[in-house]
């Protein structure tokens, strides 16, 4: 479905995750964060950059991966994105919700 945000029209799934990463920009990320009750800071963007890199390289995302990345410790990650940090961070980053799946 379509959603209008930050003066742009993007397509999202039922939960609000972007279905086309090419539509993403920083303004859209900021707005989605705002909807989630998060005000973005440099530290937030550092993590968004990291997970977008992972996504571009088709590497799976996990809490363990974030822990090992050295970008942030998990406590801090929870503090920046309270409630499901990986779910919220991926939504803001404009990539699909991670399937820790299988």
């Amino acid at each position: 479905m379509d959603k209008t945000i930050a003066q742009a029209t993007i397509s999202v799934d039922q939960e609000g995750y972007l279905t086309d990463f090419s539509q993403w920009n920083k303004e859209i990320g900021t707005e989605i964060a705002h909807e989630q009750g998060i005000e973005m800071t440099d530290k937030h963007w550092e993590i968004i950059d990291y997970i977008q890199d992972k996504f571009k390289n088709e590497e799976p995302l996990s809490i363990r991966g974030i822990k090992k990345s050295g970008v942030i410790d998990i406590k801090q990650f929870y503090a920046l994105f309270p409630g499901g940090p990986l779910k919220k961070a991926t939504m803001i980053a404009g990539i699909p919700k991670p399937k820790s799946c299988i």
């Binding site: 363990r64 991966g65 090992k68 406590k75 799946c101 299988i102």
Partner: protein
């Protein structure tokens, strides 16, 4: 034979053979062999005696004699010309465990004897079976080093070293309370310790917990919760036991469709769900688990599925990802980095279930691909992530699910479209009988590489009620 008896015979036959597995990842391990070196011959000196011009034998080496490795040795021994290929299987343990049985051990449904046998019974004649710890794979030199100093050169290597629990990954888990009030049931020792604890337990808070994904047989923890419900009901003490299911996932299972069905079952059985719980530590002094969001879940008995990791050998050899799983092509089963190294079963990083059924389907496809590789033909991109799992739901019933990389578990019948006899995604006694019969199928057919009739390696879409699938 009258028609009705014939039908009945066909029906019984079906029951016995079609009920494929799952929950079983590969099975093996544990007793350490005290340095018995079965073979000291350097393998590179095997020559063909039949040929006029003796040529050097080629070596195919399989690492691991669990479900996947044992199946591969059985498949390949009849396919590779004996005067050209020497097949070698290496495993440090001499006991082969029926791992799906570990689920039943704590509840006194299976005995210890029913879940273990000598591994060598299942390695076919003509295959060189070595009980020795593997020290290192040197993929650049096409060599495997064993702990006793022997060197195995190979032309083709198959990695089937599986996955194991790593409780030391979480603070406080493998502490002084390990196997006292904090248990696993993914090892023989853990399942047995839990059985002894349950026999004497007078009740309290039972917490069934998954540390992080992926884990071997993702439905096993749910089955454990269901079976615990049945077990304590039968003991007449269900009212004294409070069962909580704690998972890092957003719901009971990894696939949305099955999650709905399983969520209802949990509710019906009075099992509380705690979702999105990413454990930080076990506070064994105060009997609670704590996650990164500071949520606490108290327990009297914690039954956890610790982090699952590939064998340390993979890490030592520099061939694994974060969790020591080998990056592998998900359709061909060739490893990403080396064209003469293949991997299957729990050892890979494939986005498929870590389960015996998956290893079984992979083995059939990998056998063909090994032959293609030897003949210099392109590999077939055939593996679709097919998994097939019974889910014990307690009270003598079970569900059956069938799914692959792209298709969610669906309702329908299995293995015959519209006929069954097994029902997909529905609780039934027939499914439970299938699961029980499977132990026989496992020991007598599956790991011996005997094809299970009518069960194909890739998933059939017939007789199933598909909805639109999500990529």
């Amino acid at each position: 034979m009258p028609e009705s008896s014939l039908n009945r015979a066909i029906y019984n036959y079906n029951l016995l053979f079609f009920n494929v597995l799952c929950n079983l990842s590969y099975t093996r391990k544990r007793q350490k062999l005290t340095n018995v070196i079965l073979v000291n011959t350097p393998y590179y000196y095997f020559y063909s005696c039949n040929s006029q011009n003796p040529k050097v034998m080629k070596n195919l080496v399989i690492l691991g004699a669990g479900t996947a490795g044992t199946m591969m040795s059985n498949h390949l021994v009849s396919k590779l010309p004996k005067n050209e290929w020497q097949i070698t299987v290496v495993d440090q343990y001499k006991t082969h465990y029926y791992q799906p049985g570990f689920l039943f051990l704590p509840f006194d449904i299976y005995t210890t004897k029913q879940v273990k046998k000598k591994g060598e019974k299942f390695i076919p004649k003509g295959v060189n079976y070595i009980n020795e710890k593997i020290d290192l794979i040197q993929p650049e030199d096409n060599k495997v080093l064993l702990e006793n100093g022997n060197v195995l050169p190979y032309d083709i290597l198959i990695i089937a070293t599986g996955t194991k629990i790593a409780p030391e990954e979480i603070e406080g888990m493998k502490g002084p309370e390990w196997h006292k009030s904090v248990f696993d049931f993914y090892t023989y020792e853990g399942a047995k310790a839990l059985r002894d604890k349950f026999r004497e337990w007078e009740g309290g808070k039972l917490v069934v917990h998954i540390t992080e994904m992926p884990i071997k047989c993702p439905v096993a923890p749910l089955e454990f919760a269901f079976l615990a419900d049945s077990y304590f009901k039968n003991k007449g003490m269900r009212d004294k036991v409070d069962i909580t299911f704690v998972t890092p996932l957003g719901g009971a299972f990894t696939k949305p469709k099955a999650t709905q069905a399983l969520h209802h079952l949990l509710t019906d059985k009075g099992i509380t769900e705690v979702t999105d719980f990413n454990i930080e530590r076990v506070d064994y002094e105060n009997n609670k688990i704590i996650d990164y969001a500071e949520t606490e879940v108290p327990y009297d008995i914690l039954v956890t599925v610790p982090t699952n990791m590939g064998d340390a050998l993979i890490e030592r050899s520099g061939m694994g990802d974060d969790l020591n799983y080998v990056p592998t092509n998900k359709a061909t089963l060739q490893t990403d980095d080396y064209e003469n190294i293949f991997a299957l079963g729990d050892a890979t990083n494939l986005p498929a279930s870590k389960a015996g059924s998956v290893a079984h389907f992979e083995a059939e496809i990998l056998t063909e691909n090994i032959l293609r590789y030897i003949n210099g033909e392109p590999l077939k991109e055939e593996f679709d992530g097919h998994a097939n799992c019974f889910i014990e739901t307690g009270g003598g019933k079970a569900l059956l699910i069938d799914f692959n990389y792209t298709h969610e578990p669906v309702e329908g019948t299995f293995p015959f479209p519209g006929v069954g006899p097994l029902n997909l995604l529905k609780e039934s006694r027939t499914n439970h009988m299938g699961k029980m019969a499977f132990r026989w199928v496992y020991w007598n057919m599956l790991i011996k590489g005997i094809h299970i009739p009518f069960v194909s390696a890739t998933m059939s879409e017939k007789g199933k009620h598909f909805e639109e699938t999500q990529a």
